[in-house]
Symmetry: C2
Subunit: 281 residues, 2 copies
Protein backbone atom coordinates (compact mmCIF):
# COMPACT_ATOMS: atom_id res chain seq x y z
CA UNK A 1 0.00 0.00 0.00
CA UNK A 2 1.29 3.41 -0.94
CA UNK A 3 0.81 6.20 1.59
CA UNK A 4 0.61 9.69 0.09
CA UNK A 5 0.56 12.76 2.32
CA UNK A 6 0.29 15.68 -0.09
CA UNK A 7 -2.62 16.83 -2.19
CA UNK A 8 -0.53 17.44 -5.29
CA UNK A 9 1.17 14.03 -5.22
CA UNK A 10 -2.13 12.23 -4.63
CA UNK A 11 -3.90 14.07 -7.43
CA UNK A 12 -1.02 13.56 -9.87
CA UNK A 13 -0.84 9.87 -8.99
CA UNK A 14 -4.58 9.29 -9.29
CA UNK A 15 -4.99 11.28 -12.52
CA UNK A 16 -2.22 9.22 -14.03
CA UNK A 17 -3.90 5.96 -12.92
CA UNK A 18 -7.07 7.33 -14.50
CA UNK A 19 -5.31 8.06 -17.79
CA UNK A 20 -4.17 4.43 -17.82
CA UNK A 21 -7.84 3.49 -17.76
CA UNK A 22 -7.95 2.30 -14.16
CA UNK A 23 -11.21 2.59 -12.26
CA UNK A 24 -10.59 4.21 -8.88
CA UNK A 25 -12.59 3.51 -5.73
CA UNK A 26 -12.53 5.72 -2.65
CA UNK A 27 -13.46 5.20 0.98
CA UNK A 28 -13.21 8.60 2.71
CA UNK A 29 -12.74 8.28 6.48
CA UNK A 30 -11.71 10.27 9.53
CA UNK A 31 -9.58 7.35 10.67
CA UNK A 32 -9.70 5.36 13.91
CA UNK A 33 -11.08 2.56 11.81
CA UNK A 34 -13.52 -0.06 13.02
CA UNK A 35 -15.46 -2.92 11.43
CA UNK A 36 -17.97 -0.42 10.07
CA UNK A 37 -15.24 1.22 7.99
CA UNK A 38 -13.87 -2.11 6.86
CA UNK A 39 -17.30 -3.11 5.58
CA UNK A 40 -17.11 -0.10 3.24
CA UNK A 41 -14.02 -1.58 1.60
CA UNK A 42 -15.81 -4.91 1.23
CA UNK A 43 -18.62 -3.04 -0.52
CA UNK A 44 -16.06 -1.74 -3.05
CA UNK A 45 -14.61 -5.19 -3.79
CA UNK A 46 -14.85 -6.02 -7.48
CA UNK A 47 -16.17 -2.54 -8.32
CA UNK A 48 -12.82 -0.82 -8.96
CA UNK A 49 -9.23 -1.52 -10.06
CA UNK A 50 -7.55 0.69 -7.50
CA UNK A 51 -8.82 0.95 -3.93
CA UNK A 52 -7.99 4.21 -2.21
CA UNK A 53 -8.78 5.41 1.29
CA UNK A 54 -8.41 8.80 2.88
CA UNK A 55 -7.85 9.54 6.54
CA UNK A 56 -8.54 13.16 7.39
CA UNK A 57 -10.22 14.57 10.47
CA UNK A 58 -11.86 17.46 8.65
CA UNK A 59 -11.93 20.60 10.81
CA UNK A 60 -14.44 22.26 8.48
CA UNK A 61 -17.18 19.85 9.56
CA UNK A 62 -16.71 20.35 13.30
CA UNK A 63 -18.44 23.19 15.14
CA UNK A 64 -16.55 25.36 17.65
CA UNK A 65 -17.97 23.38 20.59
CA UNK A 66 -17.56 19.95 19.06
CA UNK A 67 -15.00 17.21 19.57
CA UNK A 68 -12.38 18.06 16.91
CA UNK A 69 -9.48 18.13 19.36
CA UNK A 70 -10.35 14.97 21.21
CA UNK A 71 -11.48 13.03 18.13
CA UNK A 72 -9.64 9.69 18.42
CA UNK A 73 -6.65 9.10 16.14
CA UNK A 74 -4.33 6.12 15.63
CA UNK A 75 -2.66 6.33 12.26
CA UNK A 76 -0.33 3.37 12.67
CA UNK A 77 -3.12 1.02 13.59
CA UNK A 78 -5.27 2.35 10.71
CA UNK A 79 -2.39 1.92 8.28
CA UNK A 80 -1.96 -1.73 9.26
CA UNK A 81 -5.68 -2.42 8.99
CA UNK A 82 -5.83 -0.88 5.52
CA UNK A 83 -2.74 -2.75 4.40
CA UNK A 84 -4.40 -5.95 5.61
CA UNK A 85 -7.60 -5.49 3.64
CA UNK A 86 -5.86 -4.73 0.35
CA UNK A 87 -6.14 -0.97 0.15
CA UNK A 88 -3.83 0.23 -2.65
CA UNK A 89 -3.36 3.90 -1.86
CA UNK A 90 -3.87 5.69 1.45
CA UNK A 91 -4.21 9.46 1.34
CA UNK A 92 -3.30 11.10 4.64
CA UNK A 93 -3.04 14.86 4.11
CA UNK A 94 -2.33 17.69 6.53
CA UNK A 95 -4.82 20.40 7.42
CA UNK A 96 -2.61 23.10 5.91
CA UNK A 97 -2.47 21.30 2.61
CA UNK A 98 -6.21 20.69 2.51
CA UNK A 99 -7.07 24.23 3.67
CA UNK A 100 -4.37 26.58 2.38
CA UNK A 101 -4.34 30.22 3.41
CA UNK A 102 -7.32 32.09 1.99
CA UNK A 103 -9.49 28.98 1.76
CA UNK A 104 -13.05 30.19 1.13
CA UNK A 105 -15.18 27.52 -0.60
CA UNK A 106 -18.09 25.58 0.87
CA UNK A 107 -20.91 23.59 -0.67
CA UNK A 108 -24.44 24.16 0.52
CA UNK A 109 -26.90 21.39 -0.20
CA UNK A 110 -30.10 23.17 0.73
CA UNK A 111 -33.20 21.63 2.33
CA UNK A 112 -31.59 18.20 2.96
CA UNK A 113 -29.29 19.78 5.54
CA UNK A 114 -31.93 21.70 7.49
CA UNK A 115 -33.23 18.98 9.81
CA UNK A 116 -31.72 16.13 11.84
CA UNK A 117 -28.02 16.79 12.49
CA UNK A 118 -28.20 20.04 10.50
CA UNK A 119 -30.36 21.63 13.16
CA UNK A 120 -27.66 21.63 15.82
CA UNK A 121 -24.47 21.06 13.82
CA UNK A 122 -24.41 24.44 12.05
CA UNK A 123 -22.00 24.45 9.12
CA UNK A 124 -21.31 20.73 9.47
CA UNK A 125 -22.72 19.67 6.13
CA UNK A 126 -21.23 22.49 4.05
CA UNK A 127 -17.79 21.65 5.44
CA UNK A 128 -18.37 17.94 4.95
CA UNK A 129 -19.65 18.41 1.38
CA UNK A 130 -16.64 20.60 0.53
CA UNK A 131 -14.11 18.10 1.79
CA UNK A 132 -15.84 15.24 0.00
CA UNK A 133 -15.84 17.25 -3.24
CA UNK A 134 -12.12 17.91 -2.68
CA UNK A 135 -11.44 14.22 -2.10
CA UNK A 136 -13.38 13.31 -5.24
CA UNK A 137 -11.26 15.75 -7.25
CA UNK A 138 -7.97 14.74 -5.64
CA UNK A 139 -8.52 11.00 -6.03
CA UNK A 140 -10.32 11.26 -9.39
CA UNK A 141 -12.46 8.42 -8.06
CA UNK A 142 -15.10 6.69 -10.17
CA UNK A 143 -16.90 5.20 -7.20
CA UNK A 144 -17.05 6.05 -3.51
CA UNK A 145 -18.64 4.33 -0.53
CA UNK A 146 -20.35 5.92 2.46
CA UNK A 147 -21.87 4.29 5.52
CA UNK A 148 -25.61 4.26 6.00
CA UNK A 149 -24.85 5.03 9.65
CA UNK A 150 -24.50 8.67 8.57
CA UNK A 151 -27.71 8.54 6.57
CA UNK A 152 -28.11 12.30 6.18
CA UNK A 153 -24.49 12.63 5.07
CA UNK A 154 -25.00 9.93 2.45
CA UNK A 155 -28.16 11.62 1.18
CA UNK A 156 -26.40 15.00 1.00
CA UNK A 157 -23.45 13.52 -0.91
CA UNK A 158 -25.74 11.74 -3.34
CA UNK A 159 -27.64 14.95 -4.02
CA UNK A 160 -24.45 16.97 -4.42
CA UNK A 161 -23.05 14.41 -6.84
CA UNK A 162 -26.24 14.41 -8.88
CA UNK A 163 -26.63 18.22 -8.80
CA UNK A 164 -23.03 19.12 -9.61
CA UNK A 165 -22.66 16.25 -12.12
CA UNK A 166 -19.64 14.69 -10.42
CA UNK A 167 -18.77 11.62 -12.52
CA UNK A 168 -18.73 9.48 -9.39
CA UNK A 169 -20.94 6.56 -8.44
CA UNK A 170 -22.01 6.64 -4.79
CA UNK A 171 -22.85 3.47 -2.94
CA UNK A 172 -23.86 3.09 0.67
CA UNK A 173 -23.10 0.20 2.98
CA UNK A 174 -25.33 -1.00 5.84
CA UNK A 175 -24.75 -0.09 9.47
CA UNK A 176 -22.44 -2.51 11.29
CA UNK A 177 -23.41 -3.09 14.91
CA UNK A 178 -21.83 -4.38 18.11
CA UNK A 179 -23.36 -7.54 19.57
CA UNK A 180 -25.78 -5.56 21.71
CA UNK A 181 -26.91 -3.49 18.74
CA UNK A 182 -24.86 -0.31 19.23
CA UNK A 183 -23.90 1.08 15.83
CA UNK A 184 -20.15 1.06 15.35
CA UNK A 185 -18.61 4.51 15.59
CA UNK A 186 -15.17 5.89 16.30
CA UNK A 187 -16.86 7.94 19.00
CA UNK A 188 -17.91 4.84 20.96
CA UNK A 189 -14.42 4.92 22.45
CA UNK A 190 -15.48 7.99 24.44
CA UNK A 191 -17.96 5.93 26.46
CA UNK A 192 -17.02 4.73 29.94
CA UNK A 193 -18.59 1.33 30.85
CA UNK A 194 -21.80 2.67 32.41
CA UNK A 195 -22.50 4.93 29.44
CA UNK A 196 -21.51 2.23 26.99
CA UNK A 197 -24.22 0.05 28.50
CA UNK A 198 -26.88 2.73 28.16
CA UNK A 199 -25.79 3.57 24.59
CA UNK A 200 -27.87 0.58 23.51
CA UNK A 201 -30.95 2.78 23.90
CA UNK A 202 -30.53 4.21 20.38
CA UNK A 203 -30.84 0.81 18.75
CA UNK A 204 -33.53 -0.29 21.23
CA UNK A 205 -35.66 2.71 20.31
CA UNK A 206 -35.15 2.05 16.58
CA UNK A 207 -36.22 -1.57 17.08
CA UNK A 208 -39.32 -0.33 18.90
CA UNK A 209 -40.11 2.02 16.00
CA UNK A 210 -39.75 -0.83 13.52
CA UNK A 211 -41.98 -3.07 15.63
CA UNK A 212 -44.68 -0.40 15.90
CA UNK A 213 -44.49 0.28 12.17
CA UNK A 214 -44.75 -3.43 11.40
CA UNK A 215 -47.78 -3.61 13.68
CA UNK A 216 -49.45 -0.96 11.54
CA UNK A 217 -48.77 2.29 13.35
CA UNK A 218 -48.32 4.90 10.61
CA UNK A 219 -48.42 8.05 12.72
CA UNK A 220 -44.86 9.37 13.09
CA UNK A 221 -45.81 11.38 16.18
CA UNK A 222 -46.96 8.27 18.05
CA UNK A 223 -43.81 6.34 17.17
CA UNK A 224 -41.53 9.22 18.13
CA UNK A 225 -43.35 9.60 21.47
CA UNK A 226 -42.83 5.93 22.25
CA UNK A 227 -39.13 6.20 21.34
CA UNK A 228 -38.75 9.19 23.66
CA UNK A 229 -40.42 7.23 26.47
CA UNK A 230 -38.02 4.36 25.94
CA UNK A 231 -34.97 6.60 25.95
CA UNK A 232 -36.15 8.51 29.02
CA UNK A 233 -35.80 5.25 31.00
CA UNK A 234 -32.00 5.49 30.52
CA UNK A 235 -30.81 8.06 33.06
CA UNK A 236 -27.57 8.97 31.23
CA UNK A 237 -29.30 9.43 27.88
CA UNK A 238 -30.64 12.71 26.54
CA UNK A 239 -32.11 12.76 23.05
CA UNK A 240 -31.19 15.65 20.76
CA UNK A 241 -33.57 14.75 17.95
CA UNK A 242 -35.77 11.86 16.97
CA UNK A 243 -37.24 12.28 13.50
CA UNK A 244 -38.97 10.27 10.82
CA UNK A 245 -38.16 11.71 7.41
CA UNK A 246 -38.24 11.09 3.70
CA UNK A 247 -35.08 9.05 3.05
CA UNK A 248 -34.00 11.21 0.09
CA UNK A 249 -35.24 14.70 0.97
CA UNK A 250 -34.67 14.41 4.74
CA UNK A 251 -37.96 16.27 5.34
CA UNK A 252 -40.30 15.09 8.13
CA UNK A 253 -43.13 12.72 7.22
CA UNK A 254 -46.27 12.74 9.38
CA UNK A 255 -47.69 9.44 8.11
CA UNK A 256 -45.43 6.54 7.27
CA UNK A 257 -46.99 5.46 3.98
CA UNK A 258 -43.72 4.51 2.30
CA UNK A 259 -40.13 3.69 3.24
CA UNK A 260 -39.05 6.34 5.73
CA UNK A 261 -35.89 7.06 7.63
CA UNK A 262 -36.19 6.94 11.39
CA UNK A 263 -33.13 8.76 12.73
CA UNK A 264 -31.99 10.01 16.09
CA UNK A 265 -29.15 11.69 17.94
CA UNK A 266 -28.75 11.00 21.64
CA UNK A 267 -26.25 12.30 24.12
CA UNK A 268 -24.97 9.60 26.43
CA UNK A 269 -23.13 11.59 29.07
CA UNK A 270 -20.88 13.90 27.04
CA UNK A 271 -20.92 11.76 23.92
CA UNK A 272 -23.25 12.46 21.04
CA UNK A 273 -24.27 9.31 19.15
CA UNK A 274 -26.44 8.91 16.07
CA UNK A 275 -28.25 5.96 14.58
CA UNK A 276 -31.03 5.27 12.10
CA UNK A 277 -33.16 2.66 10.42
CA UNK A 278 -35.52 2.45 7.48
CA UNK A 279 -39.11 1.68 8.49
CA UNK A 280 -42.43 1.34 6.70
CA UNK A 281 -43.14 0.94 3.01
Amino acid sequence: MRVITTVSEMQTHCLSLKREGRRIGLVPTMGYLHQGHLSLFKALAGKCDVMTASIFVNPAQFGPNEDLDKYPRDFERDEKLLEGIGCDVLFYPTEDDMYPEGYASYIDVERLTKGLCGRTRKGHFRGMAAVVAKLFMITACDIAVFGQKDAQQAAVIKRMVRDLNFPVEIITAPIVREEDGLAMSSRNVYLPPKERKQAVCLHESLKLAEKLSTEGVIDSGIIIERMKELISRYDLADWEYIEIVDPHEMTPVDKITQSSLCALAVRIGDTRLIDNNIIGG
Copy 2:
Protein backbone atom coordinates in the same frame (compact mmCIF):
# COMPACT_ATOMS: atom_id res chain seq x y z
CA MET B 1 -18.97 21.32 -34.90
CA ARG B 2 -21.08 18.94 -32.89
CA VAL B 3 -24.00 20.42 -30.94
CA ILE B 4 -25.01 18.48 -27.84
CA THR B 5 -28.12 19.39 -25.89
CA THR B 6 -28.23 16.93 -23.01
CA VAL B 7 -26.05 16.72 -19.92
CA SER B 8 -25.62 12.97 -20.12
CA GLU B 9 -24.62 12.92 -23.79
CA MET B 10 -22.15 15.78 -23.26
CA GLN B 11 -20.56 14.17 -20.23
CA THR B 12 -20.31 10.75 -21.89
CA HIS B 13 -18.79 12.30 -25.00
CA CYS B 14 -16.27 14.42 -23.11
CA LEU B 15 -15.24 11.67 -20.70
CA SER B 16 -14.61 9.41 -23.67
CA LEU B 17 -12.47 12.10 -25.35
CA LYS B 18 -10.61 12.39 -22.06
CA ARG B 19 -9.98 8.63 -21.93
CA GLU B 20 -8.46 8.92 -25.39
CA GLY B 21 -5.98 11.35 -23.90
CA ARG B 22 -7.43 14.50 -25.45
CA ARG B 23 -7.00 17.79 -23.62
CA ILE B 24 -10.33 19.58 -23.42
CA GLY B 25 -10.77 23.35 -23.37
CA LEU B 26 -13.98 25.11 -22.33
CA VAL B 27 -15.39 28.57 -22.87
CA PRO B 28 -18.56 28.84 -20.77
CA THR B 29 -20.93 31.54 -22.05
CA MET B 30 -24.50 32.75 -21.74
CA GLY B 31 -24.62 33.15 -25.52
CA TYR B 32 -25.40 36.24 -27.63
CA LEU B 33 -21.73 36.18 -28.51
CA HIS B 34 -19.64 39.24 -29.27
CA GLN B 35 -15.97 39.90 -29.98
CA GLY B 36 -15.25 39.65 -26.24
CA HIS B 37 -16.39 36.03 -26.24
CA LEU B 38 -14.51 35.25 -29.42
CA SER B 39 -11.30 36.54 -27.83
CA LEU B 40 -11.72 33.83 -25.17
CA PHE B 41 -11.53 31.16 -27.86
CA LYS B 42 -8.40 32.81 -29.26
CA ALA B 43 -6.89 32.62 -25.77
CA LEU B 44 -7.51 28.84 -25.84
CA ALA B 45 -5.82 28.32 -29.20
CA GLY B 46 -2.94 25.88 -28.96
CA LYS B 47 -3.76 25.07 -25.34
CA CYS B 48 -6.14 22.15 -25.92
CA ASP B 49 -6.99 19.41 -28.42
CA VAL B 50 -10.76 19.81 -28.26
CA MET B 51 -12.41 23.19 -28.00
CA THR B 52 -15.80 23.19 -26.34
CA ALA B 53 -18.21 26.01 -25.62
CA SER B 54 -21.35 26.13 -23.58
CA ILE B 55 -24.32 28.40 -24.07
CA PHE B 56 -26.58 28.49 -21.05
CA VAL B 57 -28.38 31.46 -19.55
CA ASN B 58 -28.09 30.27 -15.98
CA PRO B 59 -31.20 31.13 -13.95
CA ALA B 60 -29.39 30.37 -10.68
CA GLN B 61 -27.20 33.44 -11.08
CA PHE B 62 -30.02 35.89 -11.73
CA GLY B 63 -31.88 37.55 -8.86
CA PRO B 64 -35.69 37.78 -8.85
CA ASN B 65 -35.59 41.40 -10.09
CA GLU B 66 -32.86 40.90 -12.65
CA ASP B 67 -32.95 40.52 -16.43
CA LEU B 68 -33.21 36.74 -16.84
CA ASP B 69 -36.30 36.89 -19.05
CA LYS B 70 -35.12 39.67 -21.29
CA TYR B 71 -31.48 38.48 -21.50
CA PRO B 72 -30.70 38.52 -25.24
CA ARG B 73 -30.56 35.17 -27.06
CA ASP B 74 -29.75 34.22 -30.65
CA PHE B 75 -28.72 30.60 -30.82
CA GLU B 76 -28.51 30.33 -34.61
CA ARG B 77 -26.20 33.31 -34.89
CA ASP B 78 -24.05 32.00 -32.00
CA GLU B 79 -23.87 28.56 -33.60
CA LYS B 80 -22.58 30.03 -36.86
CA LEU B 81 -20.01 32.17 -35.06
CA LEU B 82 -18.69 29.19 -33.11
CA GLU B 83 -18.58 27.03 -36.22
CA GLY B 84 -16.57 29.77 -37.88
CA ILE B 85 -13.92 30.02 -35.20
CA GLY B 86 -13.29 26.28 -35.02
CA CYS B 87 -15.20 25.27 -31.91
CA ASP B 88 -15.45 21.46 -31.84
CA VAL B 89 -18.32 20.83 -29.47
CA LEU B 90 -21.10 23.20 -28.44
CA PHE B 91 -23.06 22.30 -25.32
CA TYR B 92 -26.52 23.87 -25.28
CA PRO B 93 -28.53 22.31 -22.45
CA THR B 94 -32.03 23.01 -21.19
CA GLU B 95 -32.82 24.43 -17.77
CA ASP B 96 -34.66 21.26 -16.75
CA ASP B 97 -31.66 19.13 -17.56
CA MET B 98 -29.24 21.39 -15.71
CA TYR B 99 -31.56 21.85 -12.72
CA PRO B 100 -33.59 18.66 -12.29
CA GLU B 101 -36.37 18.46 -9.73
CA GLY B 102 -35.00 18.64 -6.21
CA TYR B 103 -31.87 20.55 -7.20
CA ALA B 104 -30.30 21.84 -3.98
CA SER B 105 -26.53 22.45 -4.38
CA TYR B 106 -24.75 25.79 -4.40
CA ILE B 107 -21.13 26.77 -3.90
CA ASP B 108 -20.29 29.60 -1.53
CA VAL B 109 -16.94 31.22 -2.02
CA GLU B 110 -16.82 33.34 1.10
CA ARG B 111 -15.23 36.79 1.48
CA LEU B 112 -14.48 37.24 -2.24
CA THR B 113 -18.20 37.44 -2.95
CA LYS B 114 -19.12 39.95 -0.26
CA GLY B 115 -18.22 43.22 -2.01
CA LEU B 116 -18.62 44.67 -5.51
CA CYS B 117 -21.38 42.83 -7.41
CA GLY B 118 -21.95 40.55 -4.39
CA ARG B 119 -23.36 43.45 -2.40
CA THR B 120 -26.43 43.88 -4.59
CA ARG B 121 -26.59 40.63 -6.55
CA LYS B 122 -27.50 38.35 -3.64
CA GLY B 123 -27.03 34.70 -4.52
CA HIS B 124 -25.44 35.55 -7.86
CA PHE B 125 -22.02 34.09 -7.16
CA ARG B 126 -23.19 30.88 -5.50
CA GLY B 127 -25.41 30.16 -8.49
CA MET B 128 -22.61 31.11 -10.89
CA ALA B 129 -20.03 28.99 -9.06
CA ALA B 130 -22.39 26.00 -9.03
CA VAL B 131 -23.06 26.14 -12.74
CA VAL B 132 -19.36 26.55 -13.53
CA ALA B 133 -18.57 23.52 -11.34
CA LYS B 134 -21.28 21.60 -13.22
CA LEU B 135 -19.85 22.63 -16.57
CA PHE B 136 -16.36 21.59 -15.45
CA MET B 137 -17.71 18.18 -14.48
CA ILE B 138 -19.87 17.75 -17.58
CA THR B 139 -17.15 18.76 -20.05
CA ALA B 140 -14.27 17.17 -18.08
CA CYS B 141 -12.27 20.19 -19.22
CA ASP B 142 -8.56 20.58 -18.52
CA ILE B 143 -8.56 24.31 -19.15
CA ALA B 144 -11.23 26.99 -19.14
CA VAL B 145 -11.19 30.67 -20.09
CA PHE B 146 -13.02 33.53 -18.43
CA GLY B 147 -13.13 37.20 -19.37
CA GLN B 148 -11.40 39.76 -17.19
CA LYS B 149 -14.49 41.92 -17.81
CA ASP B 150 -16.13 39.91 -15.01
CA ALA B 151 -13.11 40.28 -12.75
CA GLN B 152 -14.87 39.23 -9.55
CA GLN B 153 -16.32 36.17 -11.27
CA ALA B 154 -12.86 35.18 -12.52
CA ALA B 155 -11.38 35.60 -9.03
CA VAL B 156 -14.19 33.54 -7.48
CA ILE B 157 -13.75 30.76 -10.04
CA LYS B 158 -9.99 30.70 -9.51
CA ARG B 159 -10.44 30.44 -5.75
CA MET B 160 -13.09 27.72 -6.07
CA VAL B 161 -10.86 25.73 -8.41
CA ARG B 162 -7.90 26.03 -6.04
CA ASP B 163 -9.97 25.31 -2.91
CA LEU B 164 -11.92 22.36 -4.26
CA ASN B 165 -8.93 20.97 -6.17
CA PHE B 166 -10.65 20.92 -9.55
CA PRO B 167 -8.05 19.61 -12.02
CA VAL B 168 -8.74 22.56 -14.31
CA GLU B 169 -6.41 25.35 -15.40
CA ILE B 170 -8.12 28.75 -15.42
CA ILE B 171 -6.95 31.51 -17.71
CA THR B 172 -8.41 34.97 -18.12
CA ALA B 173 -8.54 37.07 -21.25
CA PRO B 174 -8.39 40.88 -21.37
CA ILE B 175 -11.45 43.07 -21.76
CA VAL B 176 -12.38 43.77 -25.37
CA ARG B 177 -13.75 47.27 -25.95
CA GLU B 178 -15.77 49.13 -28.53
CA GLU B 179 -14.03 52.00 -30.32
CA ASP B 180 -15.19 54.53 -27.74
CA GLY B 181 -13.98 52.36 -24.87
CA LEU B 182 -17.23 50.70 -23.78
CA ALA B 183 -16.47 47.16 -22.63
CA MET B 184 -18.18 44.60 -24.84
CA SER B 185 -21.16 42.96 -23.18
CA SER B 186 -24.23 41.12 -24.36
CA ARG B 187 -26.18 43.64 -22.29
CA ASN B 188 -25.01 46.57 -24.42
CA VAL B 189 -27.83 45.66 -26.79
CA TYR B 190 -30.28 46.98 -24.17
CA LEU B 191 -28.98 50.54 -24.63
CA PRO B 192 -30.92 52.96 -26.82
CA PRO B 193 -28.67 55.50 -28.65
CA LYS B 194 -28.69 58.22 -25.97
CA GLU B 195 -27.80 55.74 -23.22
CA ARG B 196 -25.26 53.99 -25.43
CA LYS B 197 -23.46 57.34 -25.74
CA GLN B 198 -23.38 57.90 -21.97
CA ALA B 199 -22.26 54.31 -21.30
CA VAL B 200 -18.76 55.48 -22.11
CA CYS B 201 -18.62 57.00 -18.62
CA LEU B 202 -17.51 53.68 -17.09
CA HIS B 203 -14.40 53.52 -19.18
CA GLU B 204 -13.82 57.27 -18.87
CA SER B 205 -13.85 57.02 -15.08
CA LEU B 206 -11.46 54.03 -15.17
CA LYS B 207 -9.10 56.01 -17.41
CA LEU B 208 -9.27 58.89 -14.92
CA ALA B 209 -8.44 56.49 -12.06
CA GLU B 210 -5.47 55.16 -13.98
CA LYS B 211 -4.26 58.69 -14.76
CA LEU B 212 -4.52 59.75 -11.11
CA SER B 213 -2.75 56.58 -9.97
CA THR B 214 0.03 57.13 -12.52
CA GLU B 215 0.36 60.70 -11.25
CA GLY B 216 1.04 59.33 -7.80
CA VAL B 217 -2.33 59.46 -6.06
CA ILE B 218 -2.44 56.41 -3.80
CA ASP B 219 -5.51 57.24 -1.72
CA SER B 220 -8.41 55.09 -2.95
CA GLY B 221 -10.95 57.48 -1.44
CA ILE B 222 -9.68 60.41 -3.50
CA ILE B 223 -9.69 58.41 -6.71
CA ILE B 224 -13.17 57.05 -6.09
CA GLU B 225 -14.47 60.58 -5.34
CA ARG B 226 -13.09 61.85 -8.65
CA MET B 227 -14.66 58.91 -10.49
CA LYS B 228 -18.02 59.68 -8.90
CA GLU B 229 -17.74 63.33 -9.92
CA LEU B 230 -17.02 62.30 -13.49
CA ILE B 231 -19.96 59.89 -13.63
CA SER B 232 -22.32 62.44 -12.05
CA ARG B 233 -21.81 64.61 -15.15
CA TYR B 234 -23.69 61.97 -17.18
CA ASP B 235 -27.39 62.55 -16.46
CA LEU B 236 -28.54 58.99 -17.38
CA ALA B 237 -25.80 57.32 -15.30
CA ASP B 238 -26.19 56.20 -11.71
CA TRP B 239 -23.29 54.37 -10.09
CA GLU B 240 -24.07 51.32 -7.98
CA TYR B 241 -20.56 50.78 -6.67
CA ILE B 242 -17.09 52.09 -7.34
CA GLU B 243 -14.43 50.18 -5.43
CA ILE B 244 -10.69 49.67 -5.40
CA VAL B 245 -9.89 46.19 -4.12
CA ASP B 246 -7.20 43.57 -3.80
CA PRO B 247 -7.33 41.75 -7.18
CA HIS B 248 -7.36 38.29 -5.57
CA GLU B 249 -9.26 38.76 -2.32
CA MET B 250 -11.69 41.40 -3.63
CA THR B 251 -11.40 43.28 -0.33
CA PRO B 252 -11.16 47.10 -0.35
CA VAL B 253 -7.69 48.68 -0.26
CA ASP B 254 -7.34 52.17 1.22
CA LYS B 255 -3.88 52.91 -0.19
CA ILE B 256 -2.87 51.71 -3.63
CA THR B 257 0.59 50.40 -2.86
CA GLN B 258 0.42 47.46 -5.25
CA SER B 259 -1.62 46.28 -8.24
CA SER B 260 -5.24 46.85 -7.36
CA LEU B 261 -8.51 46.28 -9.12
CA CYS B 262 -10.59 49.37 -9.75
CA ALA B 263 -14.11 48.13 -10.50
CA LEU B 264 -17.50 49.70 -10.89
CA ALA B 265 -21.12 49.01 -11.70
CA VAL B 266 -23.20 51.78 -13.19
CA ARG B 267 -26.81 51.88 -14.23
CA ILE B 268 -27.35 53.64 -17.53
CA GLY B 269 -31.11 54.06 -17.65
CA ASP B 270 -32.42 50.58 -16.86
CA THR B 271 -29.24 48.79 -17.85
CA ARG B 272 -26.62 47.74 -15.34
CA LEU B 273 -23.11 47.71 -16.74
CA ILE B 274 -19.82 46.74 -15.12
CA ASP B 275 -16.21 47.45 -15.99
CA ASN B 276 -12.81 47.34 -14.33
CA ASN B 277 -9.12 48.00 -14.70
CA ILE B 278 -5.93 47.17 -12.85
CA ILE B 279 -4.19 50.25 -11.44
CA GLY B 280 -1.11 50.89 -9.32
CA GLY B 281 1.73 48.56 -8.51
